[in-house]
């Protein structure tokens, strides 16, 4: 099932040799611990543990997980603002610890929220400033700033002070800022946080454009719909550990064994019988509505047979989406902060 590269949307696939040298991002056995200074006595908190991940050039890779899962820690390491405790990470073949300056030249970082911009500068000046940080010279800088302002829909507010912007506008400017250095690898850490739904849709279109341009994108999010819409592959991460990396569609297929059966007109006794069937992993029964989750296709058939045998005909089955995959793999902790 393991596939590499943005196969869903027709970009490059991993070469037959495994493509280790060609990978845009290579993370090997990466670990990071922090000293926990809260409370009495210093303990260690493990933010990342033994993470290994490869992202092919041109791939849009989603990193999914609840708050505190370790997504931002991984982003920090890849952007050289944090050193790993163990293991290694390379971006475009450059080691993030030993060749950090060269790595910084090749990456663009965008994080969510409305901080990280100079509020007293205009949008255009912000892009000039950040472009200068990437060594862009005057004419190139100005041309690129105009292009990006147009691209993120801020051209008509280019000369307005950023502290007059809405949160969504700031987030769009963040995206432009992340791209101003023309990075080959773009790291987007919860980039749509604070965006309105229309802007979030525009963001998806922008990510698609980045893919078309051959840029590699690592996107952290806990928005399942966003990941499903824009990512070629997703990695699920929880409590600092990588649970799985799969093609976005394949993740859904993998979870077909977790098919859900929904039925109406079900008594409590019948719900108990369904819950006792082999392969049924969860049952919820409210009023006369039953929701049963199965982990094997044969179990779904058994549930349907039992329900039909008792004269229950208002029955439907649902295919899992990415959100369900996520919930099955990380449990019902959901967005809880650890």
């Amino acid at each position: 099932m393991e596939k590499y590269g943005p196969t869903r949307r027709g970009a490059t696939k991993r070469p037959a040799d495994g493509g280790a040298r060609a990978d845009a991002i290579v993370v090997e056995d990466l670990g990071r611990t922090f000293v926990d200074r809260r409370g009495r006595g210093a303990g260690e908190v493990t933010a990342l543990s033994g993470i290994s991940l490869r992202v092919a050039p041109g791939e849009v890779h989603g990193l999914l997980g609840p708050n505190g899962a370790g997504k931002t820690t991984l982003c920090k390491i890849l952007t050289t603002t944090l050193e790993p405790t163990t293991g290694s990470a390379r971006v475009l073949g450059l080691d993030v610890t030993r060749q950090s300056r060269a790595v910084r030249r090749s990456i663009g970082l965008v994080f969510g929220g409305d901080r990280g911009l100079y509020g007293r500068l205009s949008a255009r000046e912000n892009l000039w400033f950040w472009g200068a940080m990437y060594g862009l010279r005057r004419s190139e800088l100005r041309a690129r700033a105009e292009l990006l302002l147009e691209r993120v829909g801020l051209a008509d507010r280019a000369d307005a002070r950023v502290d007059t912007f809405s949160r969504g506008m700031k987030q769009r400017l963040h995206l432009a800022r992340g791209l101003v250095g023309d990075p080959r690898v773009v790291i987007l850490d919860e980039p749509t946080m604070g965006m309105d739904p229309v802007a979030a849709l525009d963001f998806r279109a922008l990510v698609a454009e980045l893919r078309e341009e051959g840029r590699t994108v690592l996107l952290t999010t806990h928005d399942m719909a966003e990941a499903a819409a824009v990512c070629d592959r997703v990695s699920l991460i929880d409590r600092g550990r990588l649970l799985m990396t799969e093609d976005t569609d394949a993740v859904g297929r993998l979870l077909s064994r977790y098919e859900r059966v929904v039925a109406h007109g079900v008594s409590a006794g019948l719900a108990d019988r369904v819950g006792a069937l082999a392969g049924v992993v969860a049952v919820r029964h409210e009023a006369d509505r039953l929701e049963a989750e199965t982990e094997l296709p044969s179990a779904t058939a058994s549930v349907l047979a039992v329900l039909a045998g008792e004269g229950v005909h208002r029955v439907s089955t649902a295919r899992p989406d990415l959100a369900e995959v996520y919930l099955h793999l990380v449990g019902r902790r959901g967005m809880a902060v650890t």
Binding site: T73, T80, T81, L109, R115, L117, Y118, M133, G135
Partner: protein, 266 residues
Amino acid sequence: MYPSPFHLVRYGVLNAVADFKATYTWRSWSFGWLGRMLAQVLFFTGLGGMLDHPGAVRYLALGNALMTCVVDTMAVVATTSGERRAGTLSLLVASPADPMWVFAGRSLHWPVSGFATASVALFGLGPFFGVTWAAAQVPLVLLLIALTALGTYCVGLFLAVLVINVPRLRNVVSNCAYLAMMGFCGVQVPVDFWPRAVGAVVQAVPLTHTLRALRAVSDNRPAAEVFGPVVPAVLTAGCWLLAAVVIFRWLVAVPARGAGTLDLSY
């Protein structure tokens, strides 16, 4: 291509201009800031009038007028710590640029403001206290004001990187620094008033040397007495800047990467 320090300072000035525009209008600078600084000069110089010491008024007028630019330049401590509050520090560290040069450029409005403040104090207020200048002295005085502003700006940059991880100390540190300079560097009383150890320590402060040079200009002393202190003033300023660069790179950025104290802002 990696950005050069000059390139970074130049674009850092974008922030300096924007900050200054956001902080002052020409009215609030003239009648607020400048007025306050001139009042400070008048206060201390007026105290000199109560002393039974010939030359005390001129001494205090020169010292306090030049000191006004230091009050301005110490504001670099607060504006630099603003990078962390704004969430831009981690982005600067994640860029190919050396953030230290951005810091150097983004607060340059303070030495410019300080230069203007001290110039008005010396040329506008000075004559009321017997501090007058011949036309030939004016360029030298302006040079010494500029050197004082830039030299103490370098001291301020050093202090700024020291407290960048503890921004709550920014105002305490900048206020203590300028009060210490005001007390020990020859502004109110001669340096040799203090114990020798203090006199030795203040030789590391550019203000001590530029003030000595300014007094030499005012007293029409030989060129050697004017230009002699300029050399240590420039050297000490350079040392503070170098120390700021080294400390930021090796004692702030590198340990922060290790400890994980550079937040990606939320």
